[in-house]
């Protein structure tokens, strides 16, 4: 990998082609790792979108709140990690329920716009509430494993990224099983496809939407807890991830679970390789360039349906 030769004119540096396979593998692993984080948060976006037809812009804040809950339980109170983890997820389930009752439910008969604005408002409220309660200092949350990572040949595998990738794979399988092979999953699918028909069939639509919000909050929280040891726990962590996850959702196809996973992974890999091969400072630019390209040429994303039709 050649790099940084144009020192004196201070242009953004280009890592020229010729990058070694070892380094490409390292980049691939990191890209998949960070992409898996986007995918987890994107999954929450998709599930709520399918159930309610609105984008929940507070999805990133769910990740941030869960990470802070972990800090409170595991670091401040010194409780066992597994117990803190379960309590944090339980807290997220409660937050999801409150979010549904306080933000979505009162506006459920309105058009999508007031609900979206309400989720933006809730996102600001959540981040500033945590800021007011916990203060602005970023916090350190140790990872699950004592070993920070393993060296596999030329590639260093960060144990936390390995865990994130493993959890993402498990969740993909779980989601498939849950939505395709359980009655509750099918009821949720029916609700997301046609609320009136679901209601006529005796499905409690409001209960299904409540379950969706709870599940999405837990998913977002899970992403936050998993990524916290890598990115640290800060007020901004949620919004930074959510922006990319939102892009991943559009790339994958709004409303499609597989699309969210593929979109997240693709985004992680594209921005990591884009940064290494083309320009580090424009790393975020690649992600959003791909987003714009999809919006222009394939607005329905890789797997999904047209956003305009959904909206």
């Amino acid at each position: 990998m050649a790099c940084g030769k144009a020192i004196n004119n201070r242009r953004p540096k280009i890592l020229l082609p010729g990058i070694s396979m070892d380094l490409a593998l390292q980049l691939l692993f990191t890209g998949i790792g960070i992409g898996a984080v986007y995918a987890l948060v994107a999954l929450g976006f998709v599930l709520i979108f399918r159930a309610t037809n609105v984008v929940n812009f507070a999805q990133g804040e769910f990740s941030m709140v869960a990470a802070y809950l972990m800090v409170v339980f595991a670091v401040d109170l010194g409780w066992p990690y597994w117990l803190s983890f379960l309590l944090a997820l339980a807290g997220m389930a409660l937050l999801g329920a409150i979010f549904n009752l306080g933000v979505y439910y009162p506006l459920r008969h309105r058009s999508f716009l007031p609900v979206i604005i309400a989720t933006i408002g809730a996102s600001i409220l959540l981040s500033n509430s945590v800021l007011a309660i916990y203060g602005p200092q970023p916090q350190v949350l140790e990872g699950w494993f004592e070993t920070p990572g393993i060296q596999l040949g030329p590639v260093y595998l960060d144990s936390q990224y390995l865990l994130i990738i493993a959890v993402t794979i498990v969740l993909v399988i779980f989601n498939y099983w849950f939505f395709e092979h359980t009655m509750l999953g099918k009821k949720l699918q029916a609700t997301s496809q046609d609320k009136e028909m679901a209601s006529l069939l005796g499905i409690s639509v409001s209960t299904m939407i409540m379950i969706t919000f709870i599940y999405s909050a837990v998913l977002g929280g899970l992403a936050g807890i998993l990524v916290a040891p890598v990115l640290f726990v800060s007020i901004q962590m949620g919004s930074t991830i959510a922006l990319k996850a939102f892009a991943a959702t559009i790339i994958g196809g709004f409303g499609d679970v597989t699309g969210a996973i593929i979109g997240g992974l693709a985004l992680g890999i594209i921005e990591t390789f884009g940064a290494a091969y083309i320009s580090v400072p424009y790393k975020d630019g690649f992600a959003f360039l791909v987003l714009v390209a999809f919006l222009v040429f394939r607005p329905q994303g890789i797997f999904g349906e047209r956003v305009a039709e959904k909206a």
């Binding site: 790099c3 940084g4 020192i7 980049l27 350190v140 260093y156 890598v230 640290f232 290494a276 400072p281």
Partner: protein
């Protein structure tokens, strides 16, 4: 005279509000106000808290010693949201209050750059912590810097790495914001003058979640020493951890963020053994030691540059207004520029005509999480 209902209501309103209005007017006359634009929200909210702590500590000392021009000093704080539009808005809110005599601006060069035109328009002194050398060299007489600028930090990093550590193959990693770009350039220029031009000059965007491509670029460059200008401690923490994980162990000499309290906490062992230039080093003199002691007693934690510069800014501004005997902006300016050999938490202040108060840096090192003073390098220009 017939008392109508309207007269009665008006009289009642005046009766109720008058004591408040009088008290407020008296309070306004009794205090001298300093405006402070500081991040209360946004990515630098933590740094903003440190900055407020430093300013408030100085304020308490000034007020305890009798205040300024016989009045108690009051700090009026506005949130700059850690953004350029945020600080422009915050400053315009403060500037609209005619009884504010001077201001504290940002430690972030990019924000100072954004507010500078409004500062020039208002024509009142603004104390700043941004270290981009250009800030005090663009014809704005109202900006006064309470930190050494990056032309010094670059020279000190280069001098220490080349002459003390004996390293000549440099990789520079810097943020692409105004601070990082100027710092990276200053370091690159200083290295070139020492005959050791960098082999890698790598920028990155703030708030990056992953630094693998940057670390791999450093690794591939074959550099034997690393020089950095990081804006946010979060970014620095992630970079430091990934740097060590990917096996890069070359010596590292960085800008002040490398030795900031927050970075030390976030990155932990990944920063052990690193060197940093720091305007504030507790063991570098009596005034820094006294500030450190007072800060620890009040806030139960160690201070760093974020709080040291605002502490000095309030202390020196108060001393200058007292010396000027007036709140006239021009007289305050002359009084600040006339200050020589003023002992501050960050070192000895000798303001030049550009408004730069400090002209040297300390080199410190991270010894297993403890920041230890190494040496001070002062320049005469």
């Amino acid at each position: 005279m017939k008392l109508t209902r309207r007269d009665f209501t008006a009289g009642l309103a005046v009766g109720i509000t008058a004591p408040y209005a009088i008290r407020s007017a008296r309070a306004q006359a009794a205090t001298l106000k300093i405006g402070m634009c500081v991040p209360v929200t946004g990515p630098a909210a933590e740094q903003g808290l440190w900055a407020q702590n430093g300013a408030k500590l100085a304020l308490a000392a000034v007020n305890k010693a009798g205040g300024v021009l016989g009045k108690q000093v009051e700090l009026v704080i506005e949130d700059d949201q850690t953004t350029n539009p945020g600080i422009v808005l915050a400053f315009s809110k403060l500037a609209a209050q005619p009884d504010i005599v001077a201001f504290l601006g940002s430690i972030r060069s990019t924000q100072v750059m954004a507010m500078a035109p409004d500062v020039l328009k208002l024509g009142k002194p603004v104390m700043i912590g941004g270290t981009n050398p250009d800030l005090t060299h663009m014809g704005n007489p109202w900006l006064f810097r309470f930190r050494p600028n990056d032309s010094y930090s670059g020279r000190v990093i280069a001098d220490f790495g080349v002459n003390t550590l004996g390293k000549k193959k440099w990789a520079i990693v810097h943020s692409t914001d105004a601070f990082g770009t100027a710092g990276g350039k200053a370091l690159s220029d200083a290295l070139s003058k020492l005959g050791a031009p960098p082999v890698l000059d790598q920028g990155y965007a703030n708030q990056s979640q992953d630094f693998t491509p940057v670390v791999l670029a450093v690794k591939q460059s074959g550099a034997d020493v690393l020089g950095t200008y990081f804006t946010f401690e979060n970014d620095l923490g992630i970079f430091a951890r990934q740097l060590r994980q990917l096996g890069v162990t070359i010596p590292w000499v960085g800008s002040p963020s490398v030795v900031a309290v927050s970075s030390t906490k976030l990155a932990g062992p990944a920063l052990y053994g690193t060197f940093g230039v720091a305007d504030y080093a507790e063991e570098s003199g009596d005034a820094p030691r006294a500030f450190g002691k007072s800060y620890r007693e009040t806030y139960k934690t160690a201070p760093d540059i974020q709080s040291a510069w605002t502490y000095d800014a309030v202390t020196i501004l108060s001393a200058a207004i007292n010396k000027a005997g007036s709140t006239d902006p021009t007289k305050i300016r002359e009084a600040i520029l006339a200050l020589k050999k003023f002992p501050g938490a960050e070192g000895e202040y000798n303001f030049d005509q550009n408004g730069d108060g400090l002209h040297g840096y300390n080199v410190v090192r991270n010894e297993k999480g403890m920041i230890v003073f190494d040496k001070h390098i002062e320049f005469n220009d």
